[in-house]
Amino acid sequence: MLVSLNNIIADIGGGVIFFKQIVWQGLTKPCRLQEITDQTWKVTIQSMSTTAMAGFFVGGISTIQFTMQVKQFGALGYLGGLATSGTIREVGPLLIAFMLSGKVGAYTSAELGTMKVTEQIDAIRCLGANPMQELILPRFLGIISSSFFLLVAGLLMSVLGGLLMGIFFAGINVHEYLRHIPTIVAGGSVLSGLFKCFVFAVVLATICTYKGYSASGGAKGVGKAVVNTAVATMVGIVVADWLTSVIGDSVTMVYLGM
């Protein structure tokens, strides 16, 4: 028990130090822009269809849930606004992060882990190149920037999914569904969603590059790195969600003078 607690703390510490190194690398000797765009393109293409599909269904689900609630108060007119706001603020970013964690997180840590255990990373160092700059930084930034594109795609699909459910399940028309979206979904919701998405992407990108880069011990070591990535990113994202919610709320309170 104590040993595993110790390991967890050491792991978190290692991840934080790794994050610091990535940031330092980015500030001192960044990689080429083209490498980032290549990675962004790769990740976005890889995950676009799953994210879009999941976004569509999540939008539909939240509309169904809200329908039951707002019906009691005879406020069906607010259905579109409420469901969309919930998706943009919370469910959307969380969903994208989980999608990315399953696909891109696992892929990245397996790829880097394999390069590590087959000494390809040592080979890069031996050629006088810097693996942080050549491998880690482009992947890290690629995951973060692609998460924005995926977020936008996923959210658009979720609005569409919600709209269809509003029509078929709640029985309201398009105009009614869309009418209150602009009034309820304020700039704050969008900013909050974007901010969360950014934080989740940073958590995910740090964990999967860190786990892959520190893999050791052959195929088994790579397998372990991938499993650890999956577990750590899920936990990390949920914790980050809680933290950003708490912080977001306090900021809003102060802002509104309450």
């Binding site: 087959t118 000494e119 390809q120 040592d122 080979a123 031996c126 006088g128 050549e134």
Partner: protein, 253 residues
């Protein structure tokens, strides 16, 4: 400034408190070819990695042209690494890149050469290791001997002054082994480089070496020139080079 290309002072290495190498001293001069031999699992590969800057020793110092490799700044060490070529025991080729791209990698990342110059160099090195036909194949699509040769070409792409070969002939047939050693020697002449190589093929060791050293029982026995090695007094050395079944190396300890 040290007159030695590489100097090792009291280098020890332990993994999880198990001592693998103990207080090793070694000096290698410019232009020398030093061959490491020894039973497997005794730490030859680990020692090579310590020498080339990939693995810090638990104790002691490694100096390259007088600079402590593990204490200079990262950027200075990166510069030094550009002067080092390494062939890994398992080649460590970039498996997502074609043969040509493997050779191009250091040229693209490190140098500012134009695309035409890089293509030129790729052609030259593929020619030198007799792999022009494999240009667009991936490492897993070529044979073990070809992978070794590609590994050598990649290691030499930056014209390094200091070259490390970890078992360049392991698992290869005698003729391919010979071709690879000939290639190594020919490239050494061309570049006037310092070479440190691991091999357990004594014929190839004699073919290459100016000096030979054997890693056994946590220490490095520098056995000297080929002739000195053949007549070395230590029973472990004579047992190893003759491949005797009985002797101090095979006795239960």
């Amino acid at each position: 400034m040290s007159q030695f290309e590489i100097e090792c002072r009291g280098v020890s290495k332990a993994f999880d408190d198990v001592l693998l190498l103990h207080s090793i001293q070694l000096q290698i001069s410019k232009g020398e070819t030093f061959v490491l031999i020894g039973p497997s699992g005794q730490g030859k590969s680990v020692f090579l990695k310590i020498l080339c800057g990939l693995m810090p020793p638990s104790q002691g110092e490694v100096l390259h042209q007088g600079d402590n490799l593990y204490q200079i700044s990262d950027s200075k060490r990166n510069l030094k690494m550009q002067d080092i070529g390494m062939l890994f025991q398992k080649n460590a080729l970039f498996d997502s890149l074609t043969c040509a791209e493997n050779i191009a990698f250091p040229l693209r990342e490190i140098t500012d050469q134009s695309e035409a110059e890089i293509q030129d160099k790729i052609g030259h090195f593929l020619e030198a290791v007799e792999l022009p036909h494999a240009r667009d194949l991936y490492p897993h699509e070529i044979s073990g001997g070809m992978q070794k040769r590609l590994g050598i070409a990649r290691a030499l792409a930056l014209n390094p002054k200091l070259i490390f070969y970890d078992d360049p002939t392991a698992g290869l047939d005698p003729i391919t082994s010979r071709t690879i050693i000939d290639l190594i020697l020919q490239l050494r002449e061309q570049n006037d480089s310092t070479v440190i190589a691991i091999t357990n093929d004594m014929g190839r060791a004699y073919q290459m070496a100016d000096r030979i050293g054997m890693i056994v029982d946590r220490e490095l026995i520098i056995t000297g020139s080929v002739a000195d090695t053949k007549s070395h007094a230590d029973p472990r050395v004579s047992q190893f080079i003759n491949g005797d079944l009985s002797g101090p190396l095979t006795e239960a300890q």
